[in-house]
Each structure stands twice: as C-alpha cells, then as structure tokens.
Amino acid sequence: EDILDKVKAAGVLKVGTETAFAPFDFIDAGQHVGMNVDLFAEIGKELGVEIEWVTLPWDGVFPGLESGKFDMVAGPATITNDRMKRFRFTSPVAEATVALLKKAGDETITKPEDIAGKPVGSGKATAQLAQVIEYGNTLPSPIEPKEYVSFNEAYADLAAGRVVAVANSFPNIAYVAQQRPETFELVEPPFGVKTYFGFPGRPDPEYATLMDAIDAALAAIKADGRMGEIQKKWFGVEFDTPEKIEKANI
C-alpha cells in the first residue's frame, strides 16, 4: 500500500516529534509551537492535507516511526551518513553546523579555540559531540568531552559550571542564548564542518512517493521565499540549504 495514497485518502499527515527541542518544537504557554509547526503547516498546504502532531520523548519517536504510529518525523535531525543508512532524510531545512555556547560573561572563552584543554559538554553519541572532539584534537591540547543524555542536561551543567561550553547545532544554541541572555552566550563563529538538519522518514519503498512529495513541497516552499521567512522568524537568520544531500560531510 502506498503511503502517500493513504495520507491523501485520509487527508491527514501524521508527524511525530519531541517537544523539548527549541526552537524547532517546544511548548510555549502550554502550546506546541516552533519552526516545525510553521513549516509543516506549509507542507500540509502543498500536499493538501491536515497535519496531525504526535509528541513523544525522543526515545519514543523512532520506535513510533518504525511501527507506523505516524508517517514521518519532524525532529529535525542532523543528516549523517550513519543515520542515512537507516532512514531517508528530506532535503535540508536548516544549517546544523556546530557552534559553542558559553556562560554569559565568561572572558576566558571568546573564540572557539579557547576551549582547548577544557571540559566541554554535548549529547551522548551525537554528531555534534563527534565534531567537537575532532575539533579539539586540532587544538594545542584536546578538550575534555562530557556526554549527556540530552542537550538540556548539558545546558544545566553549563549553568552549574561543570563545563565551560556546550557544543550544539548553531540554530539551537542561538535560541538558547536569546532566551536566557543573563545566563548563556553564543561563541561565534561556528567551528564545525557544514552540516544540515533534515526530517527523517522511512526508507521503505512504499514510503518513497510520500518522501518525494515532501521534498517537492519543500522545494516549492524554498523557491517562493516562505522558507526564508520561517527561518528568519525562528533563528533570526536565513540559511542557504542545498537541494539534496547524497553524502553528508560526517
């Protein structure tokens, strides 16, 4: 059974996501909001279907996708080669290049190189962690990586002072710094290799038409400038994103 047909017939595209990933998906005043909500609203229009959100902790999202609880994942996730083996990603929706967040007013860190030899936090087994370690190896003395079950704990530990910086994708930490300027501050520029966020979906053949349709919708949204507006609204900047990632940089 072709999933696109099923979605069209039902008139509903079910999208799974977690709501602890600002500014993409989060809870503001009890409401689920974020860049994904706006973007999928546009995708829905392009496909002519309603969007139905299924919000779960990240642990539950991929088992849900694999068991067919919903048709795709909003995430988004950094597109890596390992992950592409298991899932099909949409065309990129934002840049995911890694940058650093530091404690507000920390004079010892003004540029990425300053983290040499210091404790830096990131999510366990994430693409961002791998990159900051690799980056640290290029510095005079390697960094001391600290791994967290999710980035939110890493931010908490930055506030608590156990790490001097947190490495995460630029859009995320830019938003954190903007939300709590008294506590956090962005370290510019991003240091990592260029990576992108995409929405993961199923690689199975019956999903192919759906994923193609979403890519087409995204292309249309990018082409007429709606994407730019949404990015500006949530990240404060617009990103140039390629049409399609065949092979990621990491």
Partner: protein
C-alpha cells in the same frame, strides 16, 4: 521493523563496561542505603522524640518525590549552593539517600515485628542495649526483613537507570548511544529489557536461596 544484531555486537564492549558501572552503583548504593537506613531507624527509635520527628520529614520528602527530581536537583542544583559533585559521586550519594529513606522504613517495621519478650529476655540475662541490638535484634530482623529487602533492592536497580540524566556512564546511558547515533532504538530497548531482567532474576534467586537457608531461624511456635 529492523533489528540489527551486528550493531549490538559492535557496541558490546561499551555495554559491558556500562553494565559494570550499573552493577557497582547498584550494589554499593544499596549497601550504603541499607546501612544509612539502619542508622536512621535506630536514631528514630532510640534517639530523643524530637529527633524522630526531625527525621520523619526528610524521609517522607524523599519517599514522596520521584528519584529523577531528586537526582536532578542534587547534581545540577548542588553547585549553586556550593556542592559540586562529579556525576558518579552524585549518583552514589543520590541513590544512598533515596535508598536510605526506604530502607529505614523497612528497618523500622522490623524493629516493631520483634517480640518484646525477646528483648526482655536479653535484658534479664544482662545484655546491654548495644549488645542486645547487635546480638539479638539485628540478626532476628535480618531474616524477618529479607523478602522486603530483596524487593527494595530490585527497585534500586531500576532507579540506577535514572542516573543517565546526570551522565553517569551506566547501562541506560550507554545503550542510548545506539539510539542517538544509529537511531537503533529497538535494539537498545531489547538489550535493556534483557539485561535488567537477568539482574533482577539473579537478585531474586539469591533472595530465595537466603530465605531457604534462614528458614530454620523462623520464630518458633509457642
């Protein structure tokens, strides 16, 4: 649904190392919890009445709130009041405090279950308080409490999984890497279920064995 066995095998060394951490924290945390819980129970029973009431509040506070909340506040909140523990220490301290609250209640029920006459008999032959505690009350309680102690210790194992939130490199955190890196969540959860199940069964088997061994100490019919 995909299930990638090779992926699990490639993660095996990591998982085994993490399993070691889990078991270590579980055993040390439970042991310390049992010990501290005993001290609390003794203080509440033999100390002044004020101390009993003073200890009641924290015990109920710990028992009434989720371990997740406690450990989060201890680890991430601690530095704000000058208590900066590393994750394994914080995990151990947190587990000990959490366990101590529960174990202390078990010990207390044990004190109440010992027939007064057994203690009076000790008094009559001249055992002092400390000797009575050590030679009579403690051993008698141990066998009375064995089943509930085993039960609580199993719960303690389950709670060690929460420690992933403060980056203790234990099993759940290690397995989460399978999910984050390869998005192989199903494999991860299968491992967690099997390993925890095996540990729980091992623990209950030991409990049953000890219970059988101690069965002849059960109270004599009068």
């Amino acid at each position: 649904m995909t299930f990638d066995l090779d992926l699990i095998i490639s993660f095996l060394p990591d998982i085994l190392r993490a399993l070691g951490v889990t078991i270590l924290l579980w055993i040390v945390g439970s042991a310390l919890g049992i010990l501290v819980g005993f001290v609390i129970a003794v203080l509440r029973r033999y100390g002044p009445r004020g101390l009993d009431l003073a200890l009641l509040a924290p015990v109920e506070l710990i028992r009434g709130t989720p371990f997740l909340v406690q450990i989060f506040l201890l680890y991430y909140g601690g530095p704000f009041i000058g208590l900066s523990l590393d994750s394994v220490t914080a995990g151990l301290v947190g587990l000990t405090i959490y366990g101590a609250a529960y174990y202390s209640e078990l010990w207390r029920s044990g004190f109440n279950a010992i027939p007064r006459g057994h203690i009076e008999a000790a008094q009559c032959v001249g055992l002092n308080r400390r000797q009575t505690l050590k030679r009579i009350i403690l051993p008698e309680m141990t066998m009375l409490l064995l089943p509930s102690m085993v039960n609580m210790t199993i719960l303690m194992l389950k709670e060690t999984a929460i420690l992933s939130i403060i980056s203790v490199p234990e099993l759940t955190l290690a397995v989460s890497a399978l999910g984050t890196k390869y998005y192989a969540f199903v494999e991860g959860f299968a491992i967690l279920a099997l390993v925890y199940w095996a540990l729980v069964e091992a623990c209950s088997a030991m409990g049953r064995y000890a219970e059988r061994r101690l069965s002849k100490y059960r109270f004599a019919a009068t």
